[in-house]
Structures are given as C-alpha cells and as structure tokens.
Symmetry: D2
Subunit: 346 residues, 4 copies
C-alpha cells in the first residue's frame, strides 16, 4: 500500500485526486493539507466526500507531511509549489507537482512568464509528465511536472504531425475553450455563477496566456526546432472540459483518411487516447470525469488546412487523472489502475 | 461471472447501467437491446463508451436475450416492460425492472393511473426494490420492481418517522425537483435545451403525477394505514438529481437534534444513506454520479412542522445504481460492489 | 424630465434599474454611486452598458446625490440604506428603498431578524410598495419600501384567498426557488459558477430566512389576523427567476375553475399579474426580463389542498421593475411606462 | 402605422421579431403564420407573450398574408422561403427574408451548397442586408436577404481590414461558437437539454458549414478579389450568442492601438457596432438581447498575427434585430427605432 499526501487538497484538483484515488486499490491517502481550511474535515469542505473520506485538513508543514507519505501530490498555486517541493525531494519522497513550477525546463523562460525561479536545481530533474510522449522517463523520475490542461489537449493533438514533420511549424493556431473549474475555486467576481453563465468569451488573447511557453516548449521538442504558436483560450459556461481546435498548414497534401490512419498508428496501444473515426467529432461531454483524450484529425479540402479537434476533462486528463497515471508509472502499478471509470454522461 | 443483459440500453438509465457495471468485478454485460438503434454499436449512440463498451445493439427478442444472460435489467417504458418480463421469468431468468410495471401491488391501482395491467400474475412475485426498507425480501426475489426516482427520495425521507408513528399520516406534502434526465431521451420540444435552460417550473401539479400512487403505497405500508399525500414535482435546469423537501405535522413535539438522532439510528449501517448533522443541508451536486441518498431532518421551531430534505442522483440511487444494489442483493455479492464511486463534484 | 439617482449601482438590482430606466421616456439617470467602484465608469463595471450609459460611479455622499436628483433609488444592503435614507428625506427627496430596512413596520421585529433599527421615525412613513395591494397609498408616499423578491411572489399568490377568507391562515407552506442573482454580486465561494451549477439545494430551512417576517406581516394584514407560515427557499442553477409553490388548507370546498375565476376577478385590470387559465402552469422562463407575475391557482382534488404556483423575475417584479412601477405611481406617470418589454425567451 | 406579417412565427427568430416589434412605435403586427401550430394562439405556443400578443397563428396562404401586411418577414427554413417570396413581391409587398434563400447572389453557388434555386430572377433584386456595409442599397430595396448569424459576426470583424487591404485574403481562419438557439426549435435528440448541457463541441468542421459561401461572398467583395476561408463553428451550452475569433496574417506591421483606431474610424457613427478599447474583450453575455456587435481587434505581438474577436446575440443582430434594422432603413424610420433596449445581464 502506497501512502500518499495531497498538498492543497481544498481546491478542485485536490478534490479530484481524492475522488480518483478513492477507487485505487494500491493507494491510501494519509494526509491532506489546506491553508484556508486547516482544522476542518475535508468532507465539511466538500460534502460529496462525507462518510468516505473524512480526514482532517492540516497546515502545510513539509516535514510532517513527508513523515506520513511515500509520494506527494502538490496541488498548489505556482510559486507555493516550489517552496515546498525541495524539502519533499530532500527527504526522499517522490513528488508529482500539478503547478506550473517545474514544467518549463529553462528557468529564464519561467522568469519571463511568472517570476524568478526559486529552485532551478530541481528543474533539471523534473520530467514533463505527458505519458504518451515521455513514458520511459516518467518511470524513473523522482519529480514529475504534471502538464497543464490546455497544453495536454494541444500537444496530444499535434504530436503525430510534428513528430513526422508533416506541418509547417510556424503555422500553428490553437483555439481552445475551457470549463470554469479551470479558473479554480478562489472567490472572485469574475467566476460568480451569474457572471459566467450564459456567456462565452475569449481571454488572454494575443499570446499572453501562461500556458503558451509550456505548449511551445513541448511542440518545439517534437518538431526538433523552436516554434511559436498563436494560442487563444475561451471560457465556456460549464464545469469541466477543454476542447482545442488546432489549425496548421501541411507540408505535403494529405487526406482526412490518411490523417486518421497516421494518428491511429501513433497512438496505437495508448489506453487513454481515442482517435475518432472519420466523420466523428469529440465533445467534452463524452470525456467528462474520465481520463480520455478524444482526437479527430481532418483536412479542410477547400483550403488545404489541417484541423485537429481534441477534448479532455481538464480536471482528469488535464490534471488529477494524468497525475494518477504518472503515479502509476512511477510506482510500477498498471498504468490504468484507478482510471477505468467511464465518463459521466449526461 | 454473472452474464447480464440490458433491455432498452439506448436510454439514459440503460447507459447508466453500462457505466456502473463497467466497474463491477463480478458482472459481464453480454447483451444490449434497443428498438430505435438496433444494428448500431452502443458506442456510436453514446460516444462516451467508445473503446470500453462497443457491443452491437440488438432487437428485443426475449428468447435470444435470455440465452445470453442470467439476469436481465429491463429499462423500458411502462407497458413495454410487462410485455417481455413474463418470458424472461418463465425461462428462469432473474429480472430487475426499472419501469413502473411491477411497482404497484394492486393491478387495479395500476389500471387507474396507467392502463390495464397485462401481467397481474407476476405482480405478486415482484418485490419493491428499496433495500433500506425491504432488504430481506429482495435477497430471495426473482423479480425486483426497481423504485421510481421521486419515490426513492421521499420514502427514504419519511420511513423513520412513519415507522415510529411520529407524524400525522395525512399531513404530508412532498415538494420535489428533478433534473432533466428524468424526462428521458425522447426528442420532444419540451425537453430542448432552450426550452428548459434558465427556467424553473412545476408540472403535474395537483395529484396527477404517476409516482403518486407508488409513494402512497409504500408510505401507507410504513404507516400501517392508508394515507394520501400532496406531491408536486418541479423541473430544474440541470442534468441529474432529485431533491425533495417534505413537510409533515408531528404527533408529538420534537427537536431537530432528536430527529437527527432518530434518523441516524434508523439508518445505522446503511451504506448509501447519509444522515446529515444538524446545520447541514443536502444538495444534488454532492450526490451526482453516486448511489447516496443524503437526508437532513429538521423542525421549524416557529410553526412546529417537521421538514425533511433529501437528495439523490435520479439516475443512480433513483434508478440504475439502486438496480445494481438490488442485483448485488439478489446474487449474493457484497451490497456495495460497483457502487463505491464518489460523486463527481463539480 | 425626472432626475433620478441610483445609490448602489454596481449590484445586480442597480444594473437592472439602469436597464429599465434607459427606455423610460420621463426619466434621466443623473447620478450613480458605488462604494467598491467609485471613480470607474459604470460601463467598465458592466460592459453591457457601453455607449448607452457611461456615467462615472461616485462615492456615496448623500447631500451631493440629493443635489442631482429628484428621486433616489437606494439599492444598498440592509443597514446601509437606513444610514442615508433619512438625509434624502430631510432634503425633500422621494426615496424608493430596495433594501429590507423599511419593510417591517414594527422596529422590534426588525431588531429580532436583523439588528436594532436606526431610523424608526421614518418607518411609519414608509409604504410597502406592492402596487396590487396598496396602490393608493403608494401614490402619496415619500418613502416606498420596495418588497422582497420571495415576498412578492408569495403575497400575490395568496392575496385573493386571504382577503376573501378562503384558507386556514395557519396552514400555509411556501416552497420557493430562486435563481442565483438573488444572492447578489459579492465574491463568495458559495456563489461561484462551479459550486452552484448542476446543483439544486434548499437553504435557510426551518423558519430562519429573513424574508419570513416580511411575508407574515403582509399576509397577516390580508388575513386580518396574525399568522405564521413555513417558508423554504431553494437555489436553482439559473440567473433569474423565482417560482413559489404555496400550499394551504381551504376553509370551504372549491374547484380549480372557481379558484381561477376568483383570481381573475381579484386581479382584473392589473397590468402585471397574469392569472393563467386552468391547465397552464407558470415558468420563470416566461417572465424573464419582464415585470409580470404569472399565477396558477389550483386544487389537489385528492387531498383537498389548494396549491398556488407563481413566477416572477426576481430582478424585475421582484426588485427593480417593481421599483420603477412604484416610481411611476409616485410621480404620476402611467403605471406601465418603461415596463412594456416582453420577456426574453429563450 | 406599418402593417407587418411574420411568416414562420413559431420558431425562435419569429418569436424574437414579435418581441422586438412589440416596442416599435411605427409598426403593428397583423398576421402570424405557422405550419405546425396554425389555429393556436401564439401565446399558447410562447406563454411569454400572453396578454401582450395573443394573435391566432394562420396557415401560410401567401395571398391572404399579403392582404394583411405592407411588409413581410419570412422566418422560414431555406427553400420554404423562396416558395412564397415571389408571390409577396408580385403583390407589391416588401420582404425581409431571414432564410438563406436570397443571400448568395450566384444561383450556381446556392445549388452547390443547398439545392437548385427556384427563384433566380429575384436573386438579382435581393440586397444583402448588412447595414454597416450596404446601407444605401438597403434603403431602396424591395427584397432584403437578412444575413446569417455567423456571417454577421465574421464580416463585421473583417470589413475594416479587407476594405483597407491590410490582411492577406487567403490567411483567414474564423473560429466561431454559438448558443443553442442557433439550432432552431425542431425536436431533435441532438438539441435535447441533456445532450447539449455541460458539453462543448465543434461541428461542421472542414469547410462544410453552409454559412461558408455566404461569408466568402461578402469577404471577397470587400477584398476586391475572390478568397476562401477556414470556418469552424462550435456549440456552446447557452441559449443565445455568437462569438467569433478570427485570425489573419497582416500585409504590413500594425499595433493593437493602430488597429483599434482603424476600427473606430471605420465604424464611427454606427449605432450598433461597439469597438472595444484596447484591453477589453467582448462576451456574448454583454450583448444578449441587444442589437450590438462588440468587436475587439488586436495583434499577437509574438507571432504577428491579427486576431479579431466579435460578439453578437445570434437572435438579434444575427437575425431578428438586424431584420428590424433593415425594415427601419427600408421604410424610412430612424434606424434604431425599436432597437434601443440594453442587453439583459445577467
């Protein structure tokens, strides 16, 4: 039995970790921390847990947390994560960090988009935890940087094309939309029900969203050359889900059928990527609560552009589900353990 | 391994059975039928299932279905169920019927609210499948009449009070609200997104909703005398969930604390009923996707009335989850098998 | 042209006043105040107003406000209203107060449910602004206490019955549900999109909601004797709307047809009350954005209970629309001026 | 007083015409037709109208309709419109057609995307009714082809750039999202509440949506050369609204500030186009129920791409509001008459 701690348990990704791990046969959640709600039971914060997980939320004292757990999920805001992760690593714990702190391999890039990096030493040890792209490295990692939600949907959508050199690297436009859980659980007017409901809007337009460098880093690695993209996020009045519609210019002429075959081969055997047959398109509704990424690649025959549509649940494959998948790889459990659940539809 | 068929698999309760049984270690789903979509794969109807359950939907030929399964869930409209259930029973199969056809023990009452009953013989053998009230009988049953969604929420909310004779049997008013899955998956203008969204309304007001006699039958049995209630259903713009707010006049003075204790004792050991501590109230959001019924009993100190608020997921504890709970009882599996999943929140 | 100020303009009822008054031919909005957003343009707070109402939000300095306006709408939280209303009145201004501060005629009752009343002197001058019940008095008033949203829906639903002595005054149960604008625009976790969406819940159960004494005061006046009710509010995942389902025991036997006729006669000529024909039921969707109150009275023939279902838009007939209706009465404008707009459906 | 008929009144655009015209001082709605609901009152179909518009719905007999009206709005599906419009024109009536039948000036293109055109003669007389682009021609028209919803949002977003020759005509990608009213009011499983809610998806991907040739026709005219675009529509779980995010490659380097100034000049004096200041982005929530088109043009400084975000209410500026704007131009009423209403937010 693996003892696991969740640091930052009173946010939505923390809750989702608890939900998923509750059905994981190899894991016991032994410690939960929360700065805002320390001293309360997690089931008082999230009554959905009542009777199944009633642990007390603790203050975040890294050494105490490390005493209770073999592996630690850090579900903290950026900066807060890199303040505690070094301690966990020093004490020999494995860490899966759901923040942005260890995703950008170059601390200068982190500094440009966030603030000066506090822990560049461990940056080098961190493995970017997208199993479909970097499974082998994850298996031996001590520190996994769990990918962002938008990046997961976009990178999985483009990996086969960039890896095979089929698209012009500078032609990529990623138009994405997210449910509101992506904005977290902080009390802000902008996230109030009546501000969000019945409205659809773009935000962070023009290359300013902080997921941009993360996406570009990984796409550049896949392409084998540095590239830049245009990335536009939107907010959808729904709880969960990210759908990305990605446009690119092909380097040679392709049909939709060829594209589908290419993607099927690339993702052959992957337990959580479903390449949809020609004529089918993904919806966030069909992956809600599950760890799937559904992908439909196609060609706009009139203009020749390639279009990839991919959908995930931002809290599962885009955060906590992928974190558990990484944990399974790290710990030698079968990769799908605890992640078998089907989407909740409707 | 128990082979199971789902008759009427292309509706929401059919899909929910597939979702729940997918994680049930003792069961194999071997046959799915659908009148509208026979010949298609279930995963083409519900893309959430793709790659996990891709069975072909068959026409409903009872003998063929019975050949493939030991136990059959009938998730059909009323009348359609009692047209096939007798064949299943005759062939020695166990049946859990999710329709209304075997819930009313008196065929005359069925005739009054629906139409003439076609199969009164089997009515006597049917057990009303509310485990918290009738667990022993369910264990030995051949035919379980799975309760309606509104009835489940209301009966569980009133059982402790009626059993102990604490309320006036003729004082009961049940004001309930349901998500839109309760209306099924038929293509009707009234169920269109834009007709339902951003609106809240009552329907079937004035004692005309067909769940009324089912509720009264079970409450009368609990009370030990015939009673009638006022039941008002409402439609809420959300997918899942039923919340019932039930009013009754006490026969003796009680405090909220006493009520809570009474309910805790009554439901002590029940795996799927959570009596909330004083000061907490249920929400459908906290049971979504789970088999829980959350109940808060309290007293309006100013008027003396007792108020019970209870919440379930109408597709789980109100339909398919309860059906699996009944299957577990019928087949000797631990009662919670396959039903451990926590609610999906948000 | 009447110059009008809106004090507390950056909340939802303030915005709704601006929206309605924008099409009122006799009124100019000359002053808006906001404690949180003073110095910003109202159209920066609410971009829906851009290009049509771009006034600067001011700090609330009562004397300056009074200089700019003949009539003042106070859309403030309780207590904040009674801190400024006396100044406005002293300076000879007419005031329509949308808070709870002048609704309860007995300051002791106010003290019991809120806190000690700061301005009992003006309480006596305040007229409870429900035009259908108290039109004559409103016309001559200096200070109108604009009714609460729940009270409006419940009082209009019961007035004909209580006035005619047709129901038992102590039998009333009001089960109501509100959209989320009812919770205001404060940044609270409980009002976040993901906390509210896809959930339905009761709150303030057991006679503790502060609208209770307001409802009881007005119903008691209508009944001619003091009465108490059981009132249960619920929260619906939608922006706007209140629907109340009210139960009462009749003092003599009545049919639905008789009830409908009675209500039609009682509300004959009322521009904003629509008594629905037998067989029709209201929905909040059909009054959204309009000043209507739709009412369906009926009898549950099986139990004999009377059931009234009434629906309003909580921000219009339940707040700002009713306030404009009161302004029209106060100022001698035709009562429906500015309130002709049809509901926005869908 | 202008007598007006609405042919196809029981759909959402028909209802929206009634709602808008109800507050238009120069117009009387004298005739409503509906194939499905003829013989019923429009207020029985749409209870929001009760007491304000209770006209009987008639069968569509063109000559009878023409007798009752000076101007006719045809809110029919494509093909059905061109079956009756010739009769109306022959009888000397003005027609504003909300279908696609007269939008494409080349009948061969219509034939390619829809079916053989039945009335090419009148095609030549039809004026594409986008007032901001073609106001002068609309004033003298007998037949106005009211633009589609997606095209309105995209053409208004690109007109200044194409007119000034600032972007590469073949670089345009339009990524749009619509509320569910865009799918109409037909009873289809795909439009059911539970199928749409909590899901976001693309549809008609790859240059197959029928609005594509309409958009291309108008953009080509603006550019002065034939062009093709990539257009991807998405479905958002909300009632109303379209937001388009449009990407293009600039022909010379521009800053966001320059773009905003260019758009402000281009749309100077336009009553219904709001160019947002730098730093602001549109939301469908801020135009809901109003005739505005909100536009934010900006430059992605990192990649050099131009991005235009534009938002409308698909039923107002995208259909019925624009139709009334066209009627005002055609009939010599002030252009904004009946269209002054502010957006309903929240």
């Amino acid at each position: 039995m693996l003892n696991v701690a969740i640091v930052g348990a009173s946010g939505y990704t923390g809750l989702e970790l608890i939900r998923i791990l509750h059905c994981h046969p190899e894991v016991a959640v032994t410690c939960l921390t929360s700065e805002q709600s320390a001293g309360r039971k997690i089931s008082d914060v999230f009554p959905s847990l009542r009777g199944r997980c009633d642990l007390l939320l603790e203050n975040l004292e890294p050494v105490r947390v490390a005493e209770k757990a073999d592996l630690i999920f850090t579900a903290l805001p950026h900066k807060a994560a890199m303040e505690v992760v070094p301690t966990f690593l020093k004490l020999g714990k494995k860490v899966i960090d759901l923040s942005a702190d260890y995703r950008l391999s170059d601390p200068a890039v982190y500094g440009e988009w966030y603030e000066p990096h506090l822990n560049p030493a461990n940056l080098k040890k961190a493995v970017y935890g997208l199993p479909e792209i970097r499974r082998a490295k994850i298996k031996g990692a001590k520190l996994v940087a769990n990918p962002g939600c938008y990046p997961t949907s976009i990178i999985l959508g483009l990996a086969p094309l960039l890896k095979k050199g089929l698209i012009h690297p500078h032609s990529i436009i990623a138009d994405s939309a997210s449910g509101v859980t992506g904005a977290g659980r902080a009390a802000k007017v902008d996230s109030l029900y009546c501000e969000v409901n019945e409205g659809y809007r773009a935000y962070g337009v023009g290359g300013v969203h902080r997921h941009t460098p993360e996406i570009e880093q990984e796409l550049s690695l896949l392409a084998g050359e540095p590239l830049q993209i245009t990335f536009t996020p939107h907010l959808v009045p729904m709880d969960r889900g990210i759908l990305s519609t990605v446009y690119a210019a092909p380097l040679k002429e392709l049909t939709t059928a060829q594209l589908v075959r290419l993607f099927e081969e690339f993702y052959d055997g992957e337990p959580f990527v479903r390449v949809l047959p020609q004529g089918c398109l993904p919806s966030t509704a069909f992956v809600r609560g599950s760890n799937f990424c559904d992908i439909a690649p196609l060609v706009d025959a009139r203009t020749g552009r390639i279009i990839i549509v991919s959908a995930i649940d931002n809290l599962v494959k885009g955060a906590s589900g992928q974190a558990v998948q990484n944990m399974n790889l790290l710990c030698g459990f079968p990769e799908t353990t605890g992640l078998d659940g089907l989407a909740l539809f409707p």
